[in-house]
């Protein structure tokens, strides 16, 4: 068949797979930790910061391993991360209305 | 065609008008350069038999020039504008001794609470008038703007004042009239079917006249 080369899975099936169960266990464990932290009698500010840190950690695990960003070329990582600054800009700017 | 702004009647009208004219000159020059250039090139380089266009992909030097000049111009413009902006609308720009008013905008009228003879809001001698704002000349006033239903906008063209009135917010806006007389207040934000007729008047009184007017109003209302 004459055809434009479509590199499909063919080029990828010798990709090393990380141990996904370990990632899964980490995600489950982090969720447990979150539940614990959320109800700690500490200063709200510390708790909130901790929780955000944990959520980012979990999100990173999903993005890096399940979505394979760790194993992608740099240009794909850029594609994936490109919108993030935009998400921050609007929230920060509007917050100045109330926090400033 | 009219490029001259109508007469201003507030202390900062002059600053705003000045900026406007500065921009008018800058953009006027840019306008002439571009339009004259386009017409000139169009005539000079029109296709003629046997001619061939010059093959060039550009000139870095020329491009740097026409990047740098606008860049410097806009930065200067920004700095000039910033000062006036802070003076007129900065968070704490209202003069401390300004006479306070409260204006409630609602579909489709303005309720103006005057401070009364004591010059203070939230005192028993306050009184509210519909669609009229009376104020003294040569004295700063600060209007605390709110809206009841939707967004309106408090616009006094002669004072170069415009500020949206937003439900759920109280926004101070100050100005100082320099000439006594009657001015129009318009609603400048689409607020529903009566938006076009949500006008009111601003009466600027001479200082002594204003005092007696206020006293008379307060007296009439307390009876």
């Amino acid at each position: 068949m004459t055809d434009v080369q479509q590199p499909g899975a063919a080029e990828e099936h010798h990709l090393e797979h990380p141990n996904y169960w370990v990632v899964w266990a980490a995600l489950a464990a982090l969720t447990m930790v979150e539940l614990g932290v959320a109800f700690l009698p500490w200063s709200r500010r510390v708790v909130v910061l901790l929780l955000i840190g944990l959520a980012v950690w979990k999100a990173l695990l999903v993005a890096l391993y399940f979505m394979h960003l760790r194993f992608e070329k740099n240009r794909m990582r850029i594609f994936a991360l490109a919108p993030l600054p935009l998400t921050v800009i609007i929230v920060i700017a509007v917050l100045t209305e109330f926090v400033w | 065609m009219q490029w001259i702004l109508p007469d201003g009647a507030s202390t900062f009208a002059g600053d705003i008008d000045f900026l406007y004219y500065v921009i008018l000159v800058i953009t006027g020059i840019a306008f002439l350069v571009v339009e004259v250039g386009l017409v000139w090139f169009a005539i000079k380089y029109r296709a003629r038999p046997g001619r061939r266009a010059t093959y060039t992909h550009g000139s870095l030097r020329a491009e740097l020039v026409w990047t740098a000049i606008p860049a410097v111009t806009v930065v200067v413009l920004g700095l000039m504008s910033g000062g006036v902006w802070n003076h007129v609308k900065g968070r704490h720009s209202a003069p401390a001794e300004a006479l306070p008013y409260r204006v409630l905008a609602k579909q489709f009228e303005w309720h103006v609470t005057h401070p009364g003879p004591d010059g203070q809001l939230d005192t028993p001698d306050d009184f509210t008038i519909r669609n009229q704002l009376h104020m003294p000349v040569d004295r700063a006033v600060v209007v605390h703007l709110t809206a009841e239903d939707v967004i309106h906008s408090f616009f006094v063209p002669a004072f170069r004042v415009k500020q949206d009135a937003v439900p759920g917010m109280e926004i101070p806006v100050w100005f100082e009239a320099t000439k006594a007389g009657r001015y129009e207040l318009a609603c400048a934000e689409l607020c529903g079917l009566g938006h076009y007729r949500m006008g009111a008047e601003v009466m600027v009184h001479a200082a002594d006249e204003f005092g007696s007017w206020t006293a008379a109003q307060a007296a009439a209302r307390t009876q």
Partner: protein
């Protein structure tokens, strides 16, 4: 085949992104999803700062244990999804089918739990417009049990609005994902995916993990903070 013009590449076409079209396409599309959730989550963050006291303390109104279980379900479905992809990659098509099926089922379970959560909340009086007057929750709110900064339950309107919109749209995304997964699963059982070509699985997988990722953030900021 016909006499129509046929593409005959004189040279290997370069793929700018180095990945096949569908994969690039889904990543691009996820960019727009990020911005969509930015609108919803951004609005929530802003409103939360702007109206202190309108949001109940964690665990007081929303059922955290049930949601934690649900979070766990979604994490499980993510791992089964990626295992399905890995299995396909290794050529273990049987395992692939089973993992796909598992993902679909767990995904559907997530939606089920969310429906259960919604019915309970609505029944108790927590609505998108706020806390229903005279409801069980309204009484708790007035008694100060919910940790609402202001006793007036009407103010919790913004709480209900953001809660239902964010989690609702997330749920909608999960539902779409389940539909796609069900489709992929049937395709898999009909033998349409091979070791060399299982693009569909990778593409749906990326979407599915993204939805999981959004939930991880929502769970924290809506239920725990």
């Amino acid at each position: 085949m016909t006499h129509a013009p046929v593409m005959r590449p004189p040279a290997q076409r370069e793929l700018g992104a180095g990945v096949y079209n569908e994969k690039l396409g889904i990543w691009v599309f996820l960019g727009s999803e990020v911005m969509f959730f930015t609108a919803l989550i951004g609005a929530y963050i802003i409103l939360r700062f702007a109206t202190p006291g309108a949001f109940a303390e964690p665990g007081k109104l929303l059922n955290v244990p049930v949601t934690a279980v649900n979070t766990f379900l979604l994490i499980c479905s993510s791992v089964t999804m990626v295992k399905a992809f890995a299995a396909a990659n290794m050529g273990n098509l049987k395992q692939m089918k089973l993992f796909l099926l598992a993902t679909t089922v767990i995904g559907a379970a997530f939606v089920g739990v969310q429906v259960y959560e919604y019915t309970h909340l609505i029944h108790a009086g927590f609505l998108p417009s706020g806390i229903r007057e005279g409801s069980e929750l309204a009484e708790l709110a007035l008694a100060g049990e919910l940790g609402l900064g202001r006793p007036d339950p009407a103010i919790a309107g913004i709480y209900g609005s953001t809660f239902y919109t964010m989690t609702g749209f997330h749920g909608f995304h999960v539902t779409c994902g389940v539909v796609c997964l069900a489709y992929a699963t049937t395709k898999a059982f009909r033998g349409k995916y091979t070791q060399t070509d299982h693009r569909g699985i990778e593409v749906i997988g990326l979407y599915w993990h993204f939805v999981d990722l959004v939930w991880i953030i929502l769970f924290t900021i809506v239920y725990l903070i």
